[in-house]
């Protein structure tokens, strides 16, 4: 038995150790918004290294899209959990005890905890200025609105929205809300930093080694070549392990201590580090009497918390994902990325697509009902096919929405009976523009080594890349070695996000193997996709490669209590060509289960900025018993087709499939998660509309 996951021999970042290593703890603001007046660490014993404002004042600020963050909060703490000091000690216990000896004086300030309120006149400003980052994660035009809490405004202007609605025979309008959620990677954020002379070395579970290196270089004002980032396999990430998390504090402490320093966050601290963007989305959709879509207007309020992180990118993707995979001649979108005094929100499996698809696909069923049309028929009638133009102006290619819809309709038994059943179809973009590069080296013993930045977080990317390499090289997969990504020896890659690795690295790999065969010993290959959107018009190329899927659900509802059961859940994902079938199935099933949690119970609650369910007792994630009785998925393949990314496609369609199943019973819900209480209220509303509940 060799699999280190089964023997327990796998080593994550939290397992990295060095002689003389110290353990860090972080002192965090208890206030959601406060001036930090004084930090007094004089009572801390000398054996403990303390990091306070004086140590970091001269360091650069950072942020992958907006440069709005400092290693510790300098003047103001902007969320409950904002780091104000940190310590490192020989044991974790000593470090925790030292935190109690640091005296911090705060002056509480008024805060704002809702994105819609944060853009109202007179709302407290979370940041005075919004400096656009020079990190290459700021890859698109960012439009901060100075003097407001809006750090990015993305627009789509396609056709003429007023004329569009004039042509509509039927118009529906609704507002939807999705709450914050926690990624809950089983392994918390963990990093170890050490300085070897003037070089910084960091072991950290990260999906973004090169973006992290760029930000660290900016913080310490040293060249990127003086920083080495190594990414061991992660115990789950789901978007949480991106950009700078614990690494900058670990590096500062390590420099001051002149010893290696390790940070492993507690479960509570995970809630204070990165969550999913809460969003409010308003949709207005118009169609002609025959069901042809003519106009769609979308406004998104995207709550990025106290620091932007990659929120501008999330808001942009949410903006176009909310249009959906449809031919609509007149589209108008405004998506705002907004600061509040909540913990930062960032990448979360789907990158804004879930929030958008919930709003968009629930609205499709409202429209179908108003038109008296079958929800499947209205989708089939309007869904994009090859050669159609999307609202960004790009012409669609390699799209398979109709096949996905046919599959889910068949599996849910749509033709037999539609009561208690719901459908959803979605499109999700892949990081565009981006670049992947890879090196393949032939070893003397007949094996090969691939040098590749793609991170392993459980998605199985290392095995997929090794399998593809083995096939191209004509050897067994065991003959292909994949060392941990180490920025000293791997070529550049944008990052391991947006389900891009198998597709992009796969293409780079073909080039690398071709180059190797030409040269004999070593080969280099890269894959570049170009495009991007104009932030003011939304015109351009949103994605060079589309993730496509659909889901169907069947529910049964106890009308007396509002409690409902998901009896059947099925998702169909367009996979093109599957590289590793068990891995692809696991990604599909895992996305669906995460989507089920988001639909049924996952929600971070806050009271005046304080998280009130930051533990796995009050915040539930799905267990084995939450699986519906019938739980299936399909990977649609086509002869000679391209590999398609599929790491997150099956998450966003789950909430609307279930929401639409409830709607088929007259239960209309706009806000996630779908609690029994909300269902009961919706049943009451339905009965009242009918003229009273008997």
């Amino acid at each position: 038995m060799s699999n280190p996951r089964v023997t327990g021999a796998i080593r994550y970042a939290q397992d990295v150790e060095f002689d003389g290593m110290l353990y860090a703890s972080i002192l965090r603001s208890p206030y959601p918004h406060a001036r930090v007046l004084k930090v007094d660490a004089s009572a801390v014993p000398k054996s403990v290294v303390v990091l306070t404002l004086d140590d970091i004042r001269e360091l650069g600020s950072y942020g992958c899209q907006i440069k709005d963050q400092t290693v510790l909060a300098i003047e103001r703490a902007r969320f409950v959990g904002d780091p104000v000091a940190a310590v490192a000690a020989p044991t974790k216990r000593e470090a925790d005890e030292a935190l109690d000896l640091i005296d911090v004086e705060y002056e509480p300030l008024p805060g704002v905890f809702d994105a819609v309120e944060a853009v109202a006149e007179g709302a407290p400003l979370v940041h005075e200025h919004h400096a656009i980052s020079d990190n290459d994660a700021a890859y698109f035009g960012i439009r901060p609105q100075e003097g407001t809490n809006i750090c990015h405004r993305f627009r789509i202007r396609h056709g003429n929205i007023d004329e569009g609605f004039e042509q509509a025979d039927v118009v529906v309008e609704e507002t939807y809300r999705t709450p914050s959620a926690q990624h809950v990677p089983m392994e918390p954020h963990a990093s170890v930093a050490r300085w070897v002379d003037d070089r910084l070395e960091v072991w950290t579970g990260t999906q973004t080694p090169f973006n992290l290196r760029m930000d660290l270089a900016g913080i310490f004002s040293i060249p990127e070549s003086q920083i080495r980032v190594i990414s061991p396999p992660m115990g789950g990430a789901f978007g949480a392990k991106t950009f700078v998390r614990t690494e900058a504090i670990a590096a500062c402490l390590a420099r001051k201590a002149n010893r290696p320093v390790k940070i492993v966050l507690s479960r509570y601290e995970e809630w204070l580090t990165l969550n999913r963007h809460p969003a409010t989305i308003q949709v207005k959709l118009g169609a002609q009497a025959d069901g042809t879509l003519v106009a769609k207007r979308v406004v998104c309020w995207v709550d990025t918390g106290a620091y932007a992180d990659c929120g501008p990118g999330v808001a942009q993707k949410m903006g176009y994902a909310a249009v959906g995979p449809y031919r609509i001649p007149h589209v108008w979108v405004d998506s705002h990325c907004i600061y509040t005094n909540l913990p930062p929100n960032g990448a979360y499996r789907g990158y804004g697509a879930m929030q958008a698809v919930w709003a968009s696909e629930r609205t499709m069923d409202l429209l179908a009902a108003k038109l008296g049309m079958d929800p499947l028929e209205i989708r089939l009638k309007n869904v994009l096919v090859d050669g159609d133009q999307f609202c960004t102006g790009e012409v669609m290619h390699d799209v398979h929405f109709i096949e996905c819809l046919h599959d889910i309709a068949e599996k849910i038994g749509w033709a037999e009976n539609k009561q208690g059943k719901g459908l959803c179809v979605l499109m999700k973009g892949m990081q565009t523009p981006s670049r992947a590069s890879i090196v393949v080296e032939a070893n003397e013993d007949g094996s090969y080594t691939v040098y590749c930045a793609t991170a392993e977080m459980g998605q199985g990317a290392w095995l997929s890349i090794r399998k593809m390499a083995a096939e191209l090289l004509g050897v067994e997969v065991e003959k292909v070695h994949y060392p941990e990504p180490d920025t000293d020896i791997i070529p550049y890659d944008t990052r391991t996000t947006s389900s891009r690795s198998t597709y992009m690295m796969g293409r780079a790999l073909v080039e690398a193997v071709r180059d190797l065969k030409r040269k004999g010993e070593i080969g280099y290959g890269e894959c570049v996709n170009t495009g991007g959107l104009d932030p003011d018009t939304g015109q351009g190329v949103a994605s060079t490669h589309w993730h496509q899927g659909a889901a169907a659900a069947e529910v049964s509802v106890d009308e007396e209590t509002g409690k409902f059961q998901v009896l059947k859940l099925h998702a169909a994902i367009y996979a093109g060509h599957v590289v590793n079938r068990p891995g692809a199935e696991l990604q599909n099933e895992g996305s669906m289960i995460m989507g089920l949690g988001t639909t049924l119970f996952e929600q971070i609650t806050f009271e005046e900025g304080q998280p009130t369910n930051a533990n796995l007792s009050d915040y539930n994630i799905p267990a084995a018993g939450d699986l519906p009785e019938s739980f299936t998925s399909e990977l649609l393949e086509r002869e000679g087709a391209d590999v398609h990314g599929l790491g997150e496609t099956a998450l966003p369609p789950i909430p609307p499939a279930i929401g639409n199943a409830l709607y088929s019973l007259g239960i209309h819900l706009t806000d996630l998660p779908l609690s029994a209480e909300a269902v009961l209220q919706a049943i009451d509303a339905r009965e009242q509309a009918k003229g009273g509940r008997s």
């Binding site: 038995m1 060799s2 699999n3 280190p4 996951r5 089964v6 023997t7 327990g8 021999a9 796998i10 080593r11 994550y12 939290q14 397992d15 216990r93 990624h183 809950v184 990677p185 089983m186 392994e187 918390p188 396999p233 992660m234 115990g235 789950g236 789901f238 507690s266 479960r267 977080m457 459980g458 998605q459 199985g460 068990p582 891995g583 199935e585 696991l586 990604q587 099933e589 895992g590 996305s591 669906m592 289960i593 995460m594 533990n615 796995l616 007792s617 994630i621 799905p622 267990a623 084995a624 018993g625 699986l627 739980f631």
Partner: protein, 152 residues
């Protein structure tokens, strides 16, 4: 204080604080990396070990209580256990972080119930969370392990 127990069959003595949890001692003093912290409150099962054959969340089990006990971790299964085989054959993991806890729970459960139904498996795994969501294949692995153990 010094604590004595049998760890994966080997008599072991470790130093621990009186208020420390077994999880911390196993990781720090004995370098057992298969025992992992996630929730810290005995809910998720990532830190599961067997203490005298009982499933224990080591994150909330005081180390001194292990005095004189027999402790089993996944390292102690040796790699060739039918449950480990079944998990590998069924691809019942992604990141692998929860896998040791899942395997120990399965081993313990199958000793009590050698031919479980799907529903019984779901209940038995209620205290082991997998955020990657591998439950479909984990349930298959439990059933495969039941078959293989039966054959043995």
């Amino acid at each position: 204080m010094n604590i004595h127990f049998k760890l994966n069959g080997t008599p072991t003595e470790v130093e621990a604080e009186a208020d420390e949890m077994l999880l911390e001692v196993l990781r720090r003093e004995l370098k057992l990396r298969s025992v992992r912290a996630t929730c810290g409150i005995g809910i998720c099962g990532a830190c599961t070990v067997l203490v005298n054959g009982e499933l224990i969340s080591s994150c909330i089990f005081l180390a001194p209580l292990a005095e004189g006990c027999e402790i089993t971790t996944v390292e102690g299964l040796g790699g060739d256990h039918p449950v480990q085989h079944a998990f590998e054959e069924e691809h019942a993991f992604q990141c692998g972080y929860c896998t040791p806890g899942m395997i120990l729970t399965t081993k313990n459960f199958l000793e009590e119930n050698p031919a479980p139904s799907d529903e019984e498996i779901k209940v038995a795994l209620g205290g082991n969370l997998c955020r990657c969501g591998c439950y479909v294949k984990i349930i298959r692995a439990v059933k495969r392990a039941a078959r293989e153990e039966h054959v043995q």
